[in-house]
C-alpha cells in the first residue's frame, strides 16, 4: 500500500538558492516520523512546501494518492494536512477561542464538528480552556505552543505537521508537549515532526531522517539513527557522552 504522505525527489529553490535538494520522505498511516537538522538545513522549508506555502520546483508531494504540488495553501487544510508553524504564529490580537475557531475555518458551517474538535483540544490542553477568552498574545510561550498545536488540530487533520514544537521552551514544558504529541498520535493522527531537539524527536518517533544543507544524509528506524556515531556526534552531544563514559 502506498504511504499516506509521500514526498518524492522534492526540490525547492528560491532566490537562486536551492533550499531542498532531491529529498524523499514518506509517512505511513499512524506513524510519527522525525526530521532532524540544524538551523537552516531546510526543515521548515520542507514543511512549508507540503503546506503549499512555498512553490515546489521539482519532485512531488503525494497525499493519499493525490498530487499536492499545485494546490494552494488554503486548500491543503481541506485535504487533511495541517501545519503548526515554527515560532507558533498564533494570532496575538485574537482570543484563544477565536484562534481555535480559525483552525476549523474550513468546517465553520459544521458546528457540531467544530465543538467536538474544540472539546478534544481542551481535553488535551486544559489550560487553553481556562484561557479561552484571553488574547493569544498574553499567553506564555508554552501556552502559545499548545494553542498553535491545538489550532492545527481543529481541522481534525489526518496528517499533522509540527515545526519545532520545543523551540524556546523550558525542559519541563518540552516534556509535557512531547507527551501530548504522543497522545495525539495514539488517537490516530499521523505526525511529521521537524526538530532540533534530537533526543526528544528520536524518542517519540518510529523512524527519522537527518537533513543537512537541504539533503537527506541519513535515515532509518530511530534505534539505528541513535546508535550511528556521526549522528551522535552532530545532534546528540556525542562528544560529551563519550567523555562521560570515559570518566
Amino acid at each position: 500500500m502506498a504511504p499516506l504522505l509521500n514526498i518524492e525527489h522534492l526540490s525547492i529553490s528560491y532566490g537562486g538558492i536551492q533550499a531542498i535538494k532531491d529529498v524523499s520522505i514518506h509517512l505511513e498511516q499512524g506513524e510519527i516520523v522525525s526530521v532532524l537538522g540544524a538551523n537552516g538545513a531546510g526543515k521548515s522549508t520542507l514543511l512549508q512546501a507540503v503546506s503549499g506555502l512555498v512553490p515546489i520546483s521539482g519532485g512531488s508531494v503525494v497525499f493519499s494518492s493525490e498530487v499536492l504540488n499545485k494546490v494552494p495553501a488554503y486548500e491543503i487544510v481541506l485535504k487533511g494536512i495541517s501545519l503548526s508553524p515554527e515560532g507558533r504564529r498564533v494570532f496575538p490580537t485574537l482570543t484563544v477561542e477565536e484562534n481555535l475557531n480559525l483552525g476549523a475555518y474550513t468546517r465553520r458551517k459544521m458546528r457540531d464538528e467544530v465543538r467536538k474538535a474544540k472539546d478534544r483540544v481542551f481535553s488535551l490542553f486544559p489550560i487553553l480552556s481556562e484561557r479561552r477568552k484571553q488574547l493569544a498574545g498574553t499567553l506564555s510561550g508554552g501556552e502559545q505552543q499548545m494553542l498553535a498545536i491545538g489550532r492545527a488540530l481543529m481541522s481534525t487533520p489526518r496528517v499533522l505537521l509540527l515545526d519545532e514544537p520545543s523551540l524556546g521552551l523550558a525542559p519541563i514544558l518540552v516534556k509535557q508537549i512531547f507527551d501530548i504529541i504522543a497522545e495525539i498520535n495514539a488517537q490516530g493522527t499521523s505526525i511529521l515532526l521537524v526538530e532540533q531537539n534530537a533526543h526528544k524527536a528520536l524518542g517519540i518517533a518510529s523512524r527519522g531522517y537527518v537533513l543537512e544543507n537541504g539533503r537527506i544524509v541519513a535515515s532509518g528506524p530511530t534505534s539505528s539513527l541513535r546508535s550511528d556515531e556521526k549522528i551522535q556526534e552532530a545532534y546528540l552531544g556525542g562528544a560529551a557522552l563519550r567523555k562521560k563514559a570515559a570518566r
Binding site: 488554503y74 494570532f91 496575538p92 475557531n101 480559525l102
Partner: protein
Amino acid sequence: MHVILEQIINGLTIGSFYALIALGYSMVYGVLKLINFAHGDFFTLGSYLGYTVLVFGAALLTAHFGLWGALTAALIFAAVSLALVGLIVERLAYRPVYPAGRLPAVVSALGASIFLQNTIMVGWGPRFQAYPSELIPNVHLQIGGIHLSLLQILILVMSFLLMGLLYYIVQKTTFGAAIRATAHDRKTASLMGININKVILFIFTLGPALGAMTGIMVGMYYRQISFTMGWNYGLKAFTASVLGGIGNIPGAMIGGLILGVLEMLGAAYISAAWKDVFVFIILILVLIFRPTGILGEKVAEKV
C-alpha cells in the same frame, strides 16, 4: 451648556461621516498595508450616483415607493455600484502591482484617484451640484432644550447602524476573525484555510459601499457636492484612521467620532476658519507621540 451639547452632536454627525470613510481606509490598510488613496473618490462617486437617482429618478420612485423608498433606492444603487467599482479598481489598478511591493501600489492608488476624480468631472461637470432640498421633511425637534433636525437624527441612526453592523461582522463572526487574522499574518491565515483573495475582494466591496452611502448622507446634510470633495474627506478620514490606530476597525470608528467632535468644538470655540488646521495638527501630534493610534497598540509576541 446647550450650545456645547449641540456642538457635540454636530461633531458626532460629521464624525460619523469620517468614521464610515475611515473604515474603508483601515480595512484595506489592515489587510494589504496599502493606503487606498482612491477611497475618497469612491465616496464622491457614490454621492454623485445618489444625486442622480434622487434628482432624475425621484419623481418616478417617489410616486411608486414614497420618499423613503426613493432614498433607499438611491442608497442601495450607490452602494452596489461602488462595490462593483471597488472590485474593478482592485483588479485593474492594484492586483497587477502587488508583487512589485508597497510603493508601486500607492502610486497606482494615486493614479486611480486622479482617474476617478476626472471621470466624475467629465460625467457631471466641474460645477457644484445641489442635492434636492426638500428631500427629508425639514422638521426640527427639541429634546431637553437641544435642537436637532430630523435629517441629523436620521444620519446618526443610519451611521451607527452601519458601524454596528460592521463591528459585528468583524469582531463577532468567524469570517471577521478571518479578516483580522489575515491583517495580522497572511501566511498563517492561509494555513487555516482562509482564501486571502476572498478577504481582499470582501473589503474592496464593503469599504466602497460604505463610502458611497456616506457620500449620499453628506450630500443630504450639506446639500452641495463637488467632484473634488473626496480629497478633503479622504484626508480627514485617513487622519481619523491614524488617530484610532490604522488597520484597527473599532479604532477607525472611534477616531472618526473624536475627530468630528474636536473639529466642531474647535470651530465653535476657537475659530471656524481654522477647523481644518485642528484636524491636521491632531494628525501630526498623533504621528509624533503615538504613531500606533488610540487602539493600535501592539500586543507583545512571546518568542
